[in-house]
Symmetry: C2
Subunit: 333 residues, 2 copies
């Protein structure tokens, strides 16, 4: 842990919250392992559900709309577009490697992926459906009924099976084999000198106090604006909205930095368009450190080595609705 | 051609417009052939563009939003959702087998797929972008610049290359190997007796006058409401909007019936939710024929044999924006 001796004193509070690290070698970041699905049937079903816009009131918005697997599992918007073009309150976090998060949503209000999956479906500002309508819809589609029967051994679909299948799919969305992971595992040619210097700076500056572990984040809640207040128009309160504790105001789940090159814009309000901006802001408000331009560029170069193998699968084909399937109502008031 | 002797006299006008058919055996419908891409590089690039929501002002709407390849190349909505949740004027036709259409859009205002592809990008009610902004955006993304260079041997992207690549991808979206095509090719067990009876009824009733050829449609413009006026609130004028001729009022491109089980709802206004409704309406207003319930069911059973192999490919991964890429403005007024 001697690297942390170099941390700015102002980051001491963060250090106190540092979770137990199981170091890969001596490193605070561990490589991501490829995953083998435990229940391939559930994964395939969950993949269909993830891509199915019929789980929304409009028939237009699917999980993939805001967690787009063609774009790093995010929508690359400051805040998302919901039912009736409502402006979302917060930046849509990537679904990639999200199984590694200590909890889901920026404020951690869902304990796991299954609990998370039920949220957007029923959120009036997002998919604007209800769990009951979603289940009725799926129950009216013979192709889904057959698949739920095969996977869950039941003729009666419930929201539990729906969210369980979606979570099973999402658990497969890990991104191994980034250049950084290859370097971690001993392939010293996987990074160039500039990238290694960026990683050294990332460690020496204290970024790893929060961005550590396999996901390079996701393992703790931290205050946004530790050294210097973070200025934003976004009203999100963070963890305090869940705990009701004033001390948790502006505490957000630390986002993963895996694939961060693809998951712009950054922060819970999406205010940073570029990695250079994000690194600059983080240095100032979390660490009391002003990165010089060449330092900033080095850290950014390192961050771009965290892009791993993206999930690779065939676009799912969705079973057609039946005559009895209730039609979506995108324009109903 | 003796089958057509049985046609209702009221369909004579349609018959006059019957295009030259090259019959497979003695049948007015021909099997679809699998396609081998002529320019695989253009297809791969076009696939990315087809899935890329950055070609819209919002960064949220891609070609695939309304021509969803998980759902028969359509959005399964009466009329589509455009920028700022605008309600589209007309039902989104399937992109599957669309290369076989005599022209594109319901009113045939685009002569081919390439011309069509430029339409929605710049339509203020759809993707609400401009060709210039789309090209600037792509030119700012290194991954795209490299791919355009490889495919089109140019460093300067223009809208022509963009729509050419999208069209190249769309040309691959054919659906061979339907049960009906297997039957056409001689596998008499591919259909059951009810389905064959439905096909016979489809021919004997005169449906094939318009729904013929490989795509079972798409080869002519025809008046919607030939025998009996079609009642709709939809203001679309059809072909007249292109030709300016009053005689073309309510003439629409005959839609393909390939994969029709997946492309509900039906008609240019999306008014028919089910195949049973569509067959009933078509019989009445185009042929002066009221199908009995068992006849209707037989025709529907036949139509469901037209579902072919859906396009099968890996979800494309999109190259990330660069720091200089202009960010989308979904909520700008």
């Amino acid at each position: 842990m001697k690297k942390h001796v170099l941390l700015a004193a102002s980051a001491a509070a963060v250090l106190a919250a540092l979770p137990q690290l199981s170091l890969a070698g001596n490193e605070p970041i561990q490589p991501i392992q490829a995953i083998r699905a435990q229940n391939p049937g559930a994964v395939e079903l969950g993949k269909k559900l993830f891509f199915d816009p019929r789980l929304s009131k409009s028939g237009f918005i699917s999980c993939n709309s805001c967690h787009n697997l063609s774009m790093g599992g995010s929508d690359n918007l400051k805040t998302s577009i919901g039912h009736n073009w409502q402006q979302g309150p917060i930046n849509s976090p990537t679904v990639l490697n999200s199984s590694m998060n200590l909890a889901q949503f920026w404020d951690g209000r869902a304990k796991d992926l299954q609990e998370q999956a039920g949220g957007p479906i029923a959120n009036p500002g997002e998919m604007a459906f209800t769990h009951e309508l979603a289940v009725d819809l799926l129950q009216s589609i013979p192709g889904y009924v057959a698949e739920f029967r095969k996977v869950f051994k039941t003729d009666k679909i419930s929201i539990n099976e729906v969210t369980s299948a979606i979570a099973a799919f999402e658990e497969t969305l890990v991104t191994p084999n980034s250049r950084f992971d290859k370097w971690l595992k001993g392939d010293k040619k996987a990074l160039n000198a500039n990238e290694v210097a960026g990683y050294q700076l990332f460690k020496d500056s204290g970024c790893v106090a929060c961005h550590n572990g396999k996901a390079v984040g996701g393992s703790s809640f931290q205050k946004m604006g530790l050294v210097e207040p973070y200025k934003t128009d976004n009203p999100a309160e963070g963890r305090a909205a869940v705990t009701g504790k004033d001390a948790d105001r502006f505490n957000f789940k630390v986002p993963t930095l895996r694939n961060v090159e693809m998951t712009y814009p950054y922060f819970h309000d999406g205010a940073a368009d570029t990695l250079a901006q994000a690194v600059d802001t983080m240095g100032r408000i979390q660490l009391g450190k002003k990165f010089a331009p060449d330092e900033n560029a080095k850290v950014v170069a390192f961050l771009k080595t965290l892009t791993g193998d993206q999930p690779s699968f065939k676009l799912p084909l969705l079973p057609p609705s039946s005559d009895s399937t209730k039609r979506p109502t995108p324009f109903a008031k």
